[in-house]
Symmetry: C2
C-alpha cells in the first residue's frame, strides 16, 4: 500500500468548501471523482483542513492510499487532465504511511486579500474583499501584533458552528499565532497569519475585527482586550469567504520562522 | 454640451468585445445601459478601439456628450453603482469637445499574458494563455525586437477580417512599433507591445508567431523575413483572446518613451 500526497491549488468560488456534502459540489468530491477516473476506484481522500464555501487555496495538502504502482509524475498529469480548470494538482509525492495531512501538520498560514481601491476591481473581484475606504496599514499591522503568541481565541470562533460541531462545548480554543502582519501592495492590502491551528472562521473574524471594530480604529490594547474577553460578540463581523486563501501547511518547525 | 471621458477597466470574459452587436452582449452596450440609467437618455458612447470577444482592458478610453451638469466625481460613482462587477470606471473627466478617443490617440500599448507553468493555474486561467512547455524568454525577447520600427504588417492581420472590413483591400497595413518586449515573472511570461496603431488581430498573431513559428525557435532574422513576406500564411496562428489586455492608450508623445 502507498500513501500518495497531493498539493492542490484551487479557486473555491464555485465550491461549497473542501468537505463532501449532500446537494452541493465540494473540492474533495471533485478530486475524488478525478481519482476514480484515473484509478478506477472510489478512494478515500483525507484533507489537511475543512475550508468554508468560497475559500481558495494556494497549497492545500491531501492524501489517499492505493495499491497501484503508477508513478507520481503520471498520477499528477492524469489527475490534472481529469480535473476542472479551477483545481490544479501542483505536486504529487509518495509519503510514509503514517503521514496524515491534518494530524502531521505543525501549523498553517492563511492570507486574506483586501482590495482597497475606491471601486471594485474587475480582475480580482473573486479573490479580494472590496473595502473602499482608506486603510492605515501601519496602524493595522501594529494592532494585529496583539494576535501573536499563545491566547485563548474563543472570541474569534463562530459560536453557532462551535456549538454545532462540539455539543459538549469543551473545545480547546487556545492557539498559538507565530506571525500576523498587514502589508500593502498598491491597492491591495494583505493580512497574513501563521499559527499552530485555527478555529472555525477564526481568520475571517480576525479580519472583520481589524477592519470594523471600534469604527476601524482598533488599537493593540483594544484588540488585546477583545481577545481576553473570550466573547465572540466583542469581536468584529466575519469577513467574507472569497478573500481568504489557505496559503501553506507546515509539516515541521519551519512554521516558527517568519 | 460637455464631452465626458471615461477610463474603464474590464474583464472581457463574458463580453463579445467592445462594439454593440445584435444577439450578443458587448461592453459598449453595457456601459451605455449604465449611462442611460444615470442620465435618463440613451447617449452615444465612442470607444478608443474595437476589441475582440474575450479581450480585457486595463485602461480603455471612451467618451460621450451630455448637456447635463452632473460633476464628474458623481458620474463616476453613479456609473460604477450601475455597472456589473466585471466593468469598472477608474477615472472620469471632462475633455475638450474635439477630443476623440480613437482619432486623438497617438498610440496604444497591449500586453499578452502567458502562463508558462506545467499545469493550468486556477487563479489566472481567465487572464492568461496556458503554454506548458519551457519558454526561453531571453531568446523570445531578442526575436521580438524585429517587430520594432516602421513595417508593413500585412502578415500580421487576419485575412478574413481585413477583406470583410475593407472590401477594397487598399488598407494601409504599415504601422510603427515603438516597444516589443518579452519578460518573465515566475511562471508568467508577458509580451508587451506599443505602437502607433494595430491591425485586426495583430497582437494575437504576433504572439502566435513568437510561440509557434519554426517550432518555437524563431530567430530575429526569421521574424524579419516573415514581416517582409507580407503573407499572413507565413506568420503563426492567432493566439487566444483571453490572454490579451489593452493596457494603455496614449494621447501625446509619451508613447515613444519605453
Amino acid at each position: 500500500m502507498r500513501n500518495i500526497c497531493l498539493h492542490l491549488k484551487f479557486d473555491g468560488s464555485h465550491y461549497h468548501g473542501w468537505q463532501v456534502q449532500k446537494n452541493a459540489v465540494s473540492v474533495q468530491q471533485t478530486v475524488q471523482d478525478a481519482i476514480e477516473k484515473v484509478f478506477g476506484d472510489r478512494l478515500d481522500l483525507t484533507g489537511c483542513s475543512r475550508t468554508d464555501a468560497g475559500v481558495h487555496a494556494n497549497d492545500y495538502v491531501c492524501c489517499f492510499c492505493t495499491e497501484s504502482n503508477i508513478d507520481t509524475t503520471h498520477i499528477m498529469r492524469a489527475l490534472n487532465a481529469n480535473l476542472p480548470d479551477d483545481i490544479a494538482v501542483t505536486a504529487c509525492e509518495e509519503v510514509p504511511m503514517d503521514f496524515h495531512p491534518r494530524y502531521s501538520a505543525s501549523g498553517k498560514e492563511y492570507i486574506y486579500r483586501i482590495h482597497n481601491g475606491r471601486f471594485k476591481d474587475p480582475f480580482t473581484r473573486a479573490y479580494t474583499f472590496h473595502y473602499p475606504k482608506p486603510l492605515d496599514v501601519m496602524r493595522l499591522n501594529e494592532t494585529a501584533q496583539a494576535f501573536c503568541g499563545k491566547h485563548d481565541f474563543a472570541a474569534f470562533c463562530s459560536i453557532k458552528a462551535a456549538s454545532r460541531h462540539r455539543p459538549d462545548e469543551t473545545e480547546d480554543t487556545v492557539r498559538t499565532i507565530y506571525l500576523a502582519e498587514v502589508t500593502r501592495n498598491g491597492d491591495e492590502v494583505v493580512y497574513r497569519v501563521r499559527g499552530d491551528g485555527f478555529l472555525y472562521n477564526m481568520v475571517r473574524i480576525m479580519v472583520g475585527t481589524l477592519l470594523f471594530s471600534n469604527g476601524g480604529k482598533l488599537t493593540y490594547e483594544g484588540l488585546s482586550e477583545i481577545i481576553r474577553s473570550k466573547d465572540r460578540l466583542k469581536a468584529g463581523p466575519t469577513a467574507p469567504a472569497h478573500g481568504l486563501f489557505l496559503n501553506k501547511v507546515f509539516y515541521n518547525e519551519t512554521v516558527f520562522k517568519p
